[in-house]
Symmetry: C2
Subunit: 346 residues, 2 copies
């Protein structure tokens, strides 16, 4: 059983508890912090989008199609479907002479509620461009188009089926994941992600190692090291593209810039790189709760960056209000997380 | 640590786990099943709305205002804010010569997505009548009005502040909870619920006992026993009012009628009464996840009712699909739940 990481208080009573595991590792695999079972494979889901975007840069596609910081940041994003996200994804596809019909991520309404309501009020329909993964998928289509050009094939036809594990694009993506994590994903448990690409269950230890490598370049091929740096810089320059209005990843990267690259994944996963410390972080809330993943990541970031930043504390100790706006409770890091991160004397 | 009750699969790999506790108890407190810690206090939240509605009937208010089955079922509801729910709550208040301005539950948009979108498309605003608790609160206002009439006071003025723990209405509600559970809630940990009334943390054992009593009448005062029976009958006759379209409680009570009264509460709680077996059920998912609470309740119901009902199995083994509609995983009862309910040989 993993330890409780985050508690949910109602009044002064613990109402709910979120258990999980945290791995903090350096670029040679030395463990800085291990809480819970960091060797049990977990599906990282969208938390590894930066790793999945390495081929976009390393292949030369980002240069070939002159992708901007915003477009590269969007390739690492789980965005909220706001107009700027949709326009940026559409812009990438337009550079390829393609449109949203090339995307195989499926249609999803924007997660940003006012945007969704505005669309409903105007009678607009959601498209694959609104899918939180449309930037990542636009990046996959870029890689497919470059491969098609090199092979003398027709772009749209070559790209078709790019979400399948055995498509040349997805083979590159899987190879990048294997190289960064040090785990051959071909032998890892496999599932299908929300956006229809394969997701591989990997130990938190290996995911944290991959992000330590992505933050430092150490242990990556020169091409992947340069790609990781370019993607991190893009996210730091265009953090809105990685999430959106009021989103944890956007707000934290707006505040901390290149000091912290972080990315949430579905079902309670977080991955992060802290280049100045040479550390990578990977955590999973056992039950899959995003509220707890954000709170735990915020507590980890406060500890590692030695900051009492109000923004981060607003997540690690998030206030809960009821329908009348009355404060009814709060999240807080559990003793086992605090002690595990800071030592027993803290 | 409580046992894992529900597992979430992606492909054939367990992606997430929900731990929790289950108490199944008869009306004299004999334990049929205990999984995990059934003595740790948990906030039952909306799972005890039937108990909170006992004074509505026992006081004579339900008769005085000639409440229908639909209106009584709505008093026990966490409804989805659909037009019939809103109209029924408004109708109760109209019988009192009052309107939604008397409700102190706060404004909430309908949880039923097509209803919400329809309102947005038509430019309509949410009101307290759309709050999932508006039926319960309309019932509280009924009790207040009867008390005001008996005291010769002005109804709306007497009702004001009815959500406060020391208001005469809420004192009756708390007394009913204490009587049914056998725990003096005045000495229980207290929090503020989503709809602004007090919620008291009580052991699952006591909550299950209360529902065994509510299902059989045994151990309740004659007035509370009659009130519980009338409320259960009302829910069985008007199950749409207890939840709404596609809601677990509504669908299950449509299928099983008076054989099973069940009610979800926020943060992963379920309570149920099975009158034919003389049993009450109370369960809490530690992390507060509704998906797991429904799946666990469905598994408990299948076991106790000795049915392989497809509807219940659709919740205990709910299929998960991604944005393209591809089946990507499923919920399933964990071994510890199956064994705990059915014994090791099953």
């Amino acid at each position: 059983m993993n330890p409780t990481l985050i508690e949910v208080l109602r009044g002064s009573t613990v109402e709910s508890r979120h258990a999980g595991a945290v791995a903090i590792v350096d670029a040679v695999g030395a463990v800085h912090t291990a809480l819970g079972d960091i060797d049990r494979p977990v599906f990282p889901r969208s938390a590894v989008k930066l790793l999945q975007a390495l081929p976009l840069v390393a292949s030369g596609a980002a240069d070939a199609y002159q992708l901007t910081d915003a477009e590269l940041a969007l390739a690492c994003a789980s965005h909220s479907g706001e107009p700027a996200h949709v326009a940026t994804a559409a812009g990438v596809l337009a550079k390829l002479g393609l449109d949203e019909t090339s995307l195989e991520c499926g249609t999803q309404w924007p997660s940003r509620e006012p945007v969704l309501r505005g669309m409903v009020a105007r009678g607009e329909a959601a498209t694959p461009l609104h899918n939180n993964c449309s930037g990542k998928h636009s990046g996959f289509v870029c890689v497919a188009c470059l491969m098609a050009r090199q092979a003398g094939a027709e772009a749209a036809q070559f790209a078709r089926g790019y979400v399948a594990a055995d498509h040349p694009v997805m083979r590159e993506v899987s190879a990048a994941l294997s190289a960064a994590t040090g785990v051959d994903v071909e032998h890892a448990p496999r599932g299908t992600d929300g956006c229809s690409i394969p997701t591989f269950a990997l130990p938190l230890r290996a995911l944290a190692l991959a992000f330590a490598r992505a933050g430092t370049g150490q242990g990556l091929s020169p091409a992947h090291a340069r790609a990781a740096q370019r993607l991190r810089e893009a996210a730091a320059r265009a953090p809105f593209m990685v999430g959106g209005t009021d989103r944890f990843d956007t707000r934290v990267m707006q505040a901390f810039g290149e000091r912290l690259f972080c990315k949430i994944g579905a079902e309670g996963v977080y991955c992060a790189a802290l280049p100045e410390l040479g550390l990578g972080v990977a955590l999973k809330i056992d039950d899959g709760a995003a509220r707890a993943a954000e709170a735990a990541m915020a507590d980890v970031a406060q500890t590692l960056l030695r900051t009492e930043d109000e923004l981060l504390r607003g997540y690690s100790h998030a206030v809960l209000r009821n329908w009348r706006g009355t404060e009814v409770g709060a999240l807080r890091p559990a003793q086992e997380l605090s002690t595990g991160l800071r030592g027993p004397r803290h």
